[in-house]
C-alpha cells in the first residue's frame, strides 16, 4: 500500500471513523461524500463501537506474500452494534473453534509492514470475546 493511501485511511482504520447522514441517519463506513440512501452531502463524524457479531468467515491457508507468516488465518464479516458490517482479520483465536454468531471485539493490531525497513500499517482486527 502506498504511504499516502495508508495515511488517508488512518481515521477509519485506527478509530473506525464513520459518517452518519445528517438527513436520513444512514451510516457510511468508511466516510463518503454522498449518502447512498438520500444523496445528502452532510455527515456527522462518529466512531463505531468496538463490539459486534461474526456473520461469516473464511480461513486463508495460502496467503499473499505480505501475510505468509500469519497463515493460516481467518477473515470474517463482523456486524458492529450500529448495524455496519466490516471485513476484518480475526486474530487471537483457534480457527477451528470459530462460529458464525460469535461475539467479537475490535482490537488495534499490525496489519502488515513493508519488509523490515518500511512503514508498519496498523488497523483493526477482530478478536472473539
Amino acid at each position: 500500500m502506498a504511504i499516502p493511501e495508508y495515511w488517508r485511511e488512518i481515521k477509519h482504520r485506527y478509530k473506525l471513523e464513520a459518517g452518519k447522514c445528517k438527513s436520513c441517519g444512514y451510516i457510511v463506513f468508511p466516510m463518503r461524500l454522498i449518502c447512498p440512501k438520500c444523496q445528502n452531502q452532510d455527515f456527522d463524524s462518529i466512531n463505531l463501537s468496538r463490539e459486534g457479531t461474526l456473520i461469516t468467515y473464511s480461513v486463508i491457508r495460502v496467503a499473499s506474500s505480505r501475510f505468509v507468516n500469519q497463515a493460516p488465518f481467518a477473515v470474517g464479516i463482523v456486524e458492529l452494534k450500529e448495524g455496519v458490517r466490516i471485513l476484518s482479520q480475526i486474530t487471537d483465536c483457534n480457527i477451528n473453534e470459530l462460529k458464525s454468531g460469535m461475539k467479537m471485539q475490535v482490537e488495534f493490531r499490525r496489519i502488515f509492514d513493508d519488509g523490515s525497513s518500511g512503514v508498519i500499517n496498523y488497523g483493526y482486527k477482530c478478536v472473539p470475546m
Binding site: 488512518i10 485506527y14 478509530k15 466512531n47 468496538r50 506474500s65 505468509v68 507468516n69 500469519q70 482479520q89 486474530t91 487471537d92 483457534n94 482490537e107 488495534f108 493490531r109 499490525r110 496489519i111 523490515s116 508498519i120 496498523y122 482486527k125
Partner: protein, 349 residues
C-alpha cells in the same frame, strides 16, 4: 490533588511455560523456576507490538475514566521496544485514541524504567497546571537472546495511566528518583538482543537503586512499611521484588497482589506500572501504595499513592489485570514462540 484519574492494563493472551524454554536448551526447568520464581511468561501475538498494546491499554483507561480523549494534552509512551528506531510511538497511539492534534507526544526510553518515567513527567505537567489531563503508558514486547537467562522472563504487556487533578482515584503524595551510571544491562544500536552483566545486575544495580529509592521516599514522607496497604517493585524475575520488599519490612501479603512476574514474566517498562494497576484493581479508599520502578543503566522512580473513594466507580468499567492474566490463554511450544518472536530466519521475513 494531582494523581491518577483513570488507569487500565493490557496483557496479551499467549503464554510459554518455563518448561518449554528449558527443554529447548537442555536445562532443568525445576531449578530455573525455583531460581527465578517464574512459571510462565506472556508472549505478544505476531500482530502486536508496543504501539498496539499501548493503544488497547489507553483506550480502556479513556473508557474507564469516561474522559473525552480530545482533552488529553500529552501522550507519553515509555518502552525499550518502540517499533521504530525513528518515528514516534506516541503519535500513532494519540491518533488511535482520538487525542490528536492538540496533544504533546514523546517517547521515553530507560530500559525497564521508561513507563514510570512517563508517569513522573505527566504527573508533574498536571501539577504545574500546564495540562488538565496527561496520559502515561509503560509498554514493552521485550526480547531475550535465545538460550540466555533473560529468555525465561522477557515478556509483553502495557499499562496506561491518565493523570489529572479532578477526582483522582489515587493521589500522588510524593515522588523521589534515585540514579547512577551503572552498566548492568544494555543494547547497542542495531543489535537485536540486549546483553547484561550477569550477577552484577543484582546487588550494585537492582537492589542498590530500589532499596535506596524506597528508603528515601519513606523517610521523606515519614512512612513505615506497615503504613502501606501494598508495595510494588520492578519485577525482572519473581525473586528480586520479594527480596527487596522483605528487606524493607514489607510482608508477603503487601507484595503478592502486585507481583505479576511469576505468571507473565518481566514486562519491562510495563512491569511496576502493571503491578500498580493490579493493586488499584482491589485497593480500598485510604490505602497507601508504594511503587518503585527500576531501569538498568540505572535508576529507580519512587511514588507514594493514596487511593480515594472515586476508585470504586472508575474501576467497574475496566478489565482487571489478574483477570487478564488468568483469563483465556493460548500456550505456545518453543517452535511457535520462535516464529511469533521473529527468531527464525526465512525468506518471508
Amino acid at each position: 490533588m494531582t494523581g491518577i484519574v483513570s488507569y487500565a492494563s493490557y496483557v496479551p493472551r499467549y503464554r510459554i511455560k518455563v518448561e518449554d524454554i528449558a527443554a529447548q536448551w537442555g536445562f532443568d526447568a525445576t531449578v530455573i523456576k525455583k531460581g527465578l520464581f517464574v512459571q510462565e511468561k506472556s508472549v505478544p501475538a505476531p500482530d502486536q507490538d508496543t504501539i498496539t498494546m499501548s493503544v488497547e491499554a489507553a483506550r480502556r483507561a479513556v473508557f474507564g475514566g469516561g474522559i473525552d480523549p480530545e482533552t488529553i494534552q500529552a501522550v507519553y509512551v515509555g518502552s525499550e521496544s518502540h517499533p521504530y528506531a525513528v518515528k514516534p510511538t506516541g503519535t500513532t497511539v494519540a491518533e488511535a485514541i482520538g487525542a490528536t492534534p492538540d496533544a504533546h507526544c514523546a517517547d521515553f526510553e530507560f530500559a525497564c524504567k521508561a513507563g514510570s518515567e512517563a508517569m513522573f513527567v505527566t504527573l508533574n505537567m498536571v501539577e504545574a497546571q500546564q495540562m488538565s489531563y496527561a496520559l502515561a503508558i509503560g509498554a514493552d514486547t521485550s526480547q531475550g537472546a535465545p538460550g540466555d537467562a533473560l529468555e525465561y522472563t522477557a515478556s509483553a504487556g502495557a499499562a496506561a495511566f491518565i493523570m489529572g487533578k479532578e477526582q483522582p482515584v489515587a493521589e500522588c503524595l510524593e515522588t523521589y528518583s534515585h540514579m547512577s551510571d551503572t552498566p548492568d544491562f544494555w543494547r547497542r544500536e542495531h543489535e537485536f538482543y540486549p546483553q547484561h552483566a550477569g550477577r552484577f545486575t543484582g546487588e550494585p544495580a537492582y537492589f542498590k537503586h530500589v532499596l535506596n529509592c524506597a528508603n528515601f521516599i519513606m523517610k521523606k514522607t515519614g512512612l513505615q512499611a506497615s503504613d502501606f496497604g501494598y508495595a510494588v517493585f520492578h519485577q525482572p524475575n519473581g525473586k528480586f521484588p520479594l527480596r527487596a520488599g522483605k528487606k524493607l519490612g514489607f510482608t508477603e501479603d503487601q507484595l503478592k497482589q502486585g507481583l505479576l512476574c511469576p505468571y507473565i514474566g518481566n514486562t519491562y517498562s510495563g512491569s511496576s506500572p502493571l503491578g500498580l494497576a493490579a493493586v488499584l484493581d482491589v485497593a480500598k479508599p485510604g490505602d497507601l501504595i508504594l511503587m518503585v520502578s527500576y531501569g538498568s543503566g540505572a535508576g529507580s522512580d519512587g511514588f507514594v499513592w493514596r487511593v480515594t473513594k472515586d476508585i470504586e466507580k472508575m474501576r467497574k468499567k475496566i478489565l482487571y489485570t489478574w483477570d487478564q492474566i488468568h483469563g483465556e490463554k493460548f500456550y505456545l511450544d518453543y517452535g511457535q514462540y520462535a516464529k511469533f518472536r521473529g527468531k527464525i530466519r526465512s525468506n518471508a521475513s
